[in-house]
């Protein structure tokens, strides 16, 4: 394909439906910026390695106009304390120009425990919002139009249950399931690898995931059913190449599980999404995103034989790297976040979370969250890097790094295939071992100053200036327990017991569990009760150390 054909066949129809932000883009000197700058001659190597935006192998982006059409979704991950307080933070962020929501749940919710479970001691409302019941979810999403604002939820082992809550709240708001837009993380493999909020053993966990794929393809078609995440793998200490490799290897395992469950690749693959980290090494990070896109397209097309070009596209969310934030001289984190966010934008992300400067210490204050959002807005509206597509393409170093990261990732994926796939590689501790080794080597490099972190091992100050930090009310744990007690007193407990029985029975067959989850929640069964019902049937995952 030449550029003219691309413009006529792919760009023009897109612009007709979604006009670009401006009719012309130019620099301060009046130099026009083309939508896409390319080599003068489009040869076979260019076609094969880069192609055009929105075209296989998608190295230059998944859409034909990218940010000339609309900016990435600015989606700040937030949630703390109770549903009411988090709802207020969401409304604040939306009023400040944020364009999508991203819900952070507390650890009990993420691991399927009610607030009054003994395992929840001290954790309620701490790292996110506590949502053990449908009523809590209704308060969390109160006044947020679910047909207009997309909701992303960082929830994994109990993702299906939390999605069922959103569907039920949508019904109450008069929004049908097919109108709902959003994402559940639903990526259990990286929980075993790096993040730790697993509940059940791998086999039933994979079944819950394919239940969601199947249900959503029919009922909630605009929902991203999984966000296959390299973010936490990177935070745990992996390299950029390992981040791509282990994420895509997990992606392969999910696709294979869905195929084994009898699902049609060109039906479920469009609803897969990804989540990457934006780390410090700017050029390598830009290359990483491009390499990931190209490699996934090849995997879907060549390995799995997907036919629909939409199935080949790697769409991803990005978050700046939490582990790079320093507790020392925390104002410097604003700069780190800006550099990382620029890498994500240069790499063609679909949505972005920028961290608060204070997040090495606590959850972000409202002020820190606002600066983080403003950072994205400055990049979007002032830097000009969003005015032409894939601006670093053709840079000798960026193309070289893109090729090298792809090659290294392919080698890892080959190793994992040889071991029998991602699940086996995780069960044998291979993936965790590789990450741990990289983390330890990095720590050693810090110790002997081979790596410099400004304000930590160089350019330190004698006296740190204290900054405000977010403080949470410790009384909310008791208050959540009271709410649960009241709920259990007023609901129809015989009905709840009956529905829990039905879930237990269905869990032993291959019946899709989603409709039962919705019914149970609508009858005030709690998240913890549903998850305990499944624990009783399936048992719990115990990692080998």
């Amino acid at each position: 394909m030449d550029k003219k054909t691309w413009e006529e066949k792919h760009v023009a129809p897109t612009i007709k439906r979604f006009p670009e932000r401006k009719s012309e883009f130019e620099t301060s000197s009046g130099i026009p910026l083309e939508r896409l700058h390319t080599p003068t001659e489009i040869d076979e190597t260019y076609q094969e390695k880069l192609g055009f935006p929105g075209q296989y192998p998608f190295t230059r982006g998944v859409q034909p106009t990218m940010y000339r059409g609309k900016f990435w979704t600015m989606r700040q991950y937030a949630g703390f304390s109770t549903a009411k307080e988090s709802n207020e933070r969401y409304k604040f962020l939306l009023s400040q120009g944020q364009t999508g929501l991203s819900v952070a749940f507390d650890l009990p919710t993420q691991i399927g425990y009610d607030s009054d479970d003994p395992m929840s001691l001290g954790e309620v409302g701490k790292v996110g919002v506590s949502i053990p019941t449908l009523d809590d979810m209704a308060v969390l999403l109160d006044g947020i139009p679910l047909d207009k604002v997309s909701i992303s939820m960082t929830i994994n082992a109990p993702a299906s249950v939390l999605l069922a809550m959103v569907i039920a709240v949508g019904k109450r708001q008069g929004v049908a399931p097919h109108q709902l837009r959003g994402t559940i993380q639903n990526d259990i493999l990286k929980e075993y690898i790096a993040r730790g909020t697993y509940i059940y053993p791998p086999r039933p966990s994979m079944r819950l995931i394919t239940d969601v794929f199947d249900y959503c393809a029919r009922e909630v078609p605009r929902w991203n059913t999984i966000s296959i995440s390299g973010y936490h793998i990177r935070e745990a200490g992996s390299t950029a190449a390992q981040e791509v490799a282990f994420t895509l290897a997990n992606g392969i395992a999910y696709v294979q599980a869905a195929l084994d469950a009898g699902l049609d690749i060109d039906v479920f693959a469009k609803q897969l999404s990804f989540f990457f980290n934006a780390h410090n090494n700017f050029l390598e990070e830009v290359a990483k995103f491009r390499a990931a896109r190209r490699l996934w397209a090849k995997i879907m097309k060549e390995r799995f034989g997907a036919k629909d070009p939409k199935s080949w596209r790697l769409r991803f969310h990005t978050q700046t790297a939490g582990s790079t934030l320093t507790a020392q001289q925390p104002e410097n984190n604003v700069i780190r976040v800006a550099v990382q966010a620029m890498a994500a934008v240069m790499g063609g992300t679909q949505s972005l979370h920028t961290n608060g400067r204070d997040e090495a210490i606590a959850l972000p204050t409202q002020e820190a969250a606002q600066i983080a959002l403003r950072t994205q807005q400055i990049i979007a509206h002032e830097s000009g890097i969003a005015d032409t597509i894939d601006p670093l393409a053709g840079s000798y170093v960026v193309e070289h790094l893109t090729d090298e990261i792809e090659k290294m990732a392919q080698q890892y994926i080959q190793n994992i295939d040889d071991m029998g796939g991602a699940l086996t590689a995780i069960e044998q501790g291979y993936v965790q071992g590789e990450i741990h080794e990289a983390a330890y080597q990095y720590q050693r490099a810090l110790e002997n100053n081979a790596e410099i972190v400004v304000g930590v091992n160089q350019f330190t100050v004698a006296e740190e200036t204290p900054i405000d930090r977010m403080k949470l009310d410790p009384a909310i744990e008791a208050a959540q327990c009271e709410r649960l007690k009241a709920l259990r007193e007023r609901r129809d407990n015989a009905k709840v017991a009956e529905l829990r029985g039905q879930i237990a029975t269905a869990a032993q067959t291959d019946e899709n569990l989603m409709p039962l989850f919705i019914e149970a929640l609508e009858n005030d069964a709690t998240l913890g009760e549903i998850c305990h019902t499944l624990r009783d049937v399936w048992g719990e995952y115990r990692p080998t150390l």
Partner: protein, 137 residues
């Protein structure tokens, strides 16, 4: 001095174990024996492990903010088991203004983000040496 035995534990529901694992390895490289509990340990499980393994020090890693609830429970259980002489050190995300409260509970040291591995290993070796040979201090 006999080889120090150290328990590294992750209390509560927090899954961030990069720090705990790096510390465990650094302590091993410094010649200590390390028992790592893995995730989701209740205070009872941790104190029980410390007792069974007869450890010389206990390292706890918490990044979720649950330390104000979890630490008092662990320190009480240690007292009940007459293990108050086993030094407890804490790492992870512990805001500055929470540190005095932790030390008041009897925590020997709090190591925040950016602490050098050497600082931690030296501290532990020193504690253990003093406990094994009180005359040397």
């Amino acid at each position: 001095m006999k080889t120090p035995r150290i328990l590294i534990a992750k209390p509560g529901l927090d899954g961030h174990d990069r720090g705990a694992k790096v510390i465990a390895r650094a302590l091993r490289d410094a010649g200590m024996e390390v028992i790592y509990t893995g995730l989701r340990q209740t205070p009872e499980m941790i104190v029980n492990a410390a007792l069974q393994e007869d450890v010389d020090a206990i390292g706890l890693s918490i990044l979720s903010g649950a330390h104000p609830v979890i630490l008092p429970r662990i320190m009480t259980l240690l007292q009940e088991n007459e293990m108050e002489d086993v030094p407890v050190f804490l790492g992870g995300i512990v805001p500055d203004d929470d540190i005095p409260g932790m030390l008041d509970l009897g925590v020997a040291a709090v190591f925040g983000p950016g602490t050098k591995l050497e600082t931690i290993t030296d501290f532990i070796l020193d504690c253990v040496q003093k406990a094994q040979d009180p005359a040397a201090s």
